[in-house]
Subunit: 261 residues, 2 copies
């Protein structure tokens, strides 16, 4: 499905329409002066959890993440800009989360802190102006759920990608083994026939010598098949080590969970 259709489809499913986009764009003026304080409370909250704190190397990386979030909230979400750049960004965030190992559970939960602050600010302003905050709050909730939806979707896609790769490798290995095993069985059968023929000839005869040569050839062929199996097994283990190093977020944790099973 083309990307533009996917965007339309998601917005329609979430019932995000033109009115919501106007609501979001109008809300921006009330959020913008407060966003720094909101993000400060957000990071103070999430960084008190080791699961999050572990994701940031230093103060500088927290600052970078905060600047990127500020841009996201103000320009994308309160900009009402649900275009391909927004979807591409959600995809990158989901992939990053899959790579660093931030489960959607933490991500979804952390939205609570931003959403309640947005609602608080919008309600406060509506009260001052003596109007209902309802439609603005509904629009913000839909946009936040769209965000959650997309990042979760992209996170899962990244994990599925890793799973497909494991399945592909495992399937390829089993297929190669089946093929090598067929070759081996064939060589073994030939060696067995050659041995039976040798046993049936008179020792010292020319035929005996020829049969013995045949048998030695067949045994050599069995040895080659056996080596090929050994080599293929060696490749798999080497390949798996590489693979685990390539994607530690998914597989190392799977391995460690695995070992606790």
């Amino acid at each position: 499905m083309p990307y533009t259709e996917l965007i339309e489809d998601r917005l329609r499913f979430m019932e995000i329409d033109e009115n919501d986009i106007v609501e979001l764009q109008q809300a921006r003026q009330y959020i913008e002066p407060e966003i720094d304080k909101m993000l400060e409370r957000f990071y103070e909250h999430i960084l008190s959890y080791p699961e999050f704190a572990a994701l940031f190397e230093d103060e500088e990386s927290v600052r970078r993440a905060r600047a990127s979030q500020k841009k996201h909230w103000l320009e994308e979400l309160f900009g009402g800009r649900f275009k391909s750049s927004y979807f591409n960004k959600a995809e990158r965030i989901g992939q990053t989360h899959a790579r660093v190992g931030l489960a959607p559970s933490w991500y979804v939960g952390s939205y609570s802190k931003m959403l309640t602050q947005f609602i608080g600010r919008i309600c406060e302003q509506a009260q001052v102006e003596g109007r209902s905050a309802c439609e603005t709050v509904q629009a913000i909730c839909k946009a936040v759920l769209l965000d959650v939806d997309l990042v979760t979707h992209c996170y899962l896609e990244a994990k599925n990608q890793a799973m497909r790769e494991v399945l592909r490798r495992a399937t390829q290995f089993a297929t190669d083994m089946a093929e090598l095993s067929d070759g081996l069985s064939d060589s073994v059968s030939k060696a067995q026939s050659a041995a039976a023929l040798l046993a049936g000839t008179e020792a010292g005869s020319a035929e005996h010598t020829k049969r013995l040569q045949d048998l030695l050839g067949q045994i050599e062929s069995v040895g080659e098949q056996s080596n090929a199996i050994d080599t293929r097994i060696g490749e798999l283990q080497f390949g798996d080590r590489l693979y685990i190093e390539d994607d530690p977020s998914t597989l190392d944790r799977l391995k460690s969970r695995f070992s606790r099973d």
Copy 2:
């Protein structure tokens, strides 16, 4: 971690406190008279999407799902009952979604329809009473995000379980193959030695006859090792067919995606 600690942990992270629980419980009286109409609109909306419609066999199964949702919203969420029964239920829902193949993306998106209706009803009532709906709406948003969080978490756990099983089977197969291959190499080496010794004896001598018997024995042993490899490969393929049938939701779709890759 014990379940009770997990609950406390999630509620603390989402900042759902006693005030929120009171807000939710008080909101119930305004939601309850409207919940049937809200759910009617919800199902009308989601069933217009084939991804959802395919999940329900007939009208009766839609009725059952609707009754279960009504109970969930009124008793659990607006009951403010975030106890182990609530967490257990979220776990079952996540597992069911993984089994029937309802991706979190659809699930998260569908919350939009219920949440906006809740907000609409609460704001309407607050306006009648001339008070702010802010804290009630914040409590509902947190509770809905907790719901999204838990079901997504449990869905992912179910998928990880499937992935761990694939890894376990693939690892076991590779380990078994490595062991069988060692046995094969050993037998092949012995057969090669026996063949070399045979070739070195004078045809017709008693030693020649003995060496030939030795070699025939070694070839038989190679045949047994080769058969063991063949049997193990046969088991894997049979086991995989069974496995794919056991969990069509995860693996069949992976397979079909796989084939499109």
